[in-house]
């Protein structure tokens, strides 16, 4: 079956480039891929989404959509009604981290607004009426907080949020109540994985009130040595306090990863070089690549670039490949629905092309 081209101009534009958060710039960007903060907000005069009637959902969607347009958060805010785009388009939005897995798979009236640079997005009618999100390349918690705080203030002038002095911002799930804030940092930790130190790190992080997840949120697997570290608690600590804890912890984990890389180089340089170059070679010659294998190999090459072992491929290209080789993006690239085996062929060919390999 051939996919019809994306109906809306916005969706077509989406495929012509990738988000700014993949640029591979910003503090600690050798190890921290991106920083994300999201705020959960609900309207005071409506039931939470799962208990709202179809009519109320429509009302909330319309109200928030209109206010988002009025608020002019950025000059070029796009709004996509998820009921009007194909399931592959929705998966693409998820792969780009503009919407959650739940939002991609859900039904009823819901949407997402996002800026052209894809650093800001607002999900409408996810688990909460609004899920505001800011993503930055590298380790930029303060910057992300400043931006999202301003967006929140702007929206607050136009929408009546559900708030209680005792419990803070009220959310459908009590695990988000209070600040409604989840800050998460995506880290690339291949050497800690190789040295079997990763569990130790996670245990220590858990004691500080932080949790580790896979890259697409709760319950997802950690592919390509990519981990999301985020705050567990949202009540009883201020936003800044939560960010301060993370600012203390994340650079230490990054430092620990660098130490592990150094140890690998001094103790077993040949083995590490062999591993990195083999991975690079595989990516350049393979004729079929599964999504997991591609992630794994890209992870090794990314580490090789950071260690100065490989210098003819940019960090941005590697970061982009992590996203563009995901199933929905590949199908979009080819403009048709494909079985896993067919995707593996296309994925390998696309990676070879991007790495400038002999076809």
């Amino acid at each position: 079956m051939n996919y019809p081209p994306a109906k809306t101009k916005k969706m077509r534009e989406l495929y012509s480039k990738t988000g700014e958060w993949l640029r591979g710039t910003g503090p600690e960007s050798d190890i921290v891929i991106s920083t994300r903060i999201r705020l959960a907000r609900n309207l005071a005069n409506f039931p939470f989404l799962h208990r709202a009637t179809e009519g109320q959902r429509k009302e909330v969607e319309k109200l928030v959509r209109e206010k988002l347009k009025e608020a002019t958060l950025t000059r070029d805010l796009h709004y996509v009604k998820l009921s009007e785009v194909s399931s592959v388009d929705r998966l693409c939005l998820m792969e780009r981290r503009l919407i959650s897995r739940e939002h991609a798979g859900g039904d009823g009236e819901r949407g997402v607004a996002f800026g052209k640079s894809e650093t800001i997005s607002v999900m409408v009618n996810e688990e909460d009426h609004l899920r505001i999100q800011v993503i930055r390349s590298g380790f930029e918690l303060r910057d992300a907080w400043k931006t999202i705080d301003e967006i929140d203030n702007t929206l607050e002038e136009k929408l009546h949020y559900a708030f209680s002095p005792r419990f803070g911002y009220l959310t459908a799930c009590p695990t988000n109540v209070g600040t409604g804030m989840r800050a998460s940092v995506m880290m690339h930790l291949p050497a800690l994985g190789l040295a079997h130190h990763i569990e130790k790190v996670f245990n220590a992080v858990g004691k500080l009130g932080l949790v580790v997840r896979g890259i697409y949120g709760e319950g997802t697997q950690a592919l390509g040595d990519l981990f999301q570290i985020s705050n567990q608690f949202t009540l009883g600590k201020s936003e800044v306090e939560i960010l301060e804890i993370m600012e203390g912890v994340i650079p230490r984990i990054a430092g620990y990863e660098r130490m592990a890389r150094k140890a690998l180089i001094t103790e077993n340089k040949e083995q590490l070089e062999d591993r990195v170059w083999r991975s690079y070679g595989m990516l350049k010659v393979a004729r079929m690549l599964s999504s997991e294998e591609a992630m794994h190999l890209l992870s090794q090459v990314r580490m090789g670039v950071n260690l100065g072992l490989i210098n003819d491929v940019s960090m941005e290209t590697l970061n982009e490949l992590f996203v563009l080789t995901l199933p929905a993006h590949l199908q979009k690239l080819e403009g048709k629905e494909m079985e896993a085996s067919e995707r593996n062929v296309i994925r390998a060919s696309y990676v070879r092309k991007r790495l400038g390999a002999f076809q």
Partner: protein, 174 residues
Amino acid sequence: MKCESCNKRHATVHLTEINGNEKRERHLCEECAQSLNNPLVKMPTPADILSSLINQVAPEIGEMSKTACPACGLSYLEFRSKGRLGCPMDYTAFKKGLVPLLEKMHGASQHIGKVPSRAGKELVVKNEVLQLRKELDKAVEKEDYEKAAKIRDRIFELSASEDKKDEGTLQQNG
């Protein structure tokens, strides 16, 4: 032992009845025992067993089990089984049950942090004071008395401005 009433099934319920000085033992099967209409032999239903278990694990559920939100109609038990609240009002309606739950979940049940400006300036100040008190404790713990003094002064300042405002409204009202 066979049931003495039906003489067919195995006797699994053994009763001792005491009437004055007379003691009488009865051995019955479950079905015959149920038909006796004796409250002692009534078997608890699975729901009864469950609620007694819940009472042991989370005592507030028993107390809250009859509560439902007047705004959205969600019952406290529905909330506990699904884990999602129905509307913002639920936080008020289920407060008694929610506070211990939030304590378990977050280690706290009082919001400290951002306040929408709509909620009023007093609340913003109140939250800042709460936040400063925490910082004061931390500074004292670290024996950073210089910082502690600064925080203390700021708390006084904020509280004083609040008091003044209270006086102001009183005078206006008076």
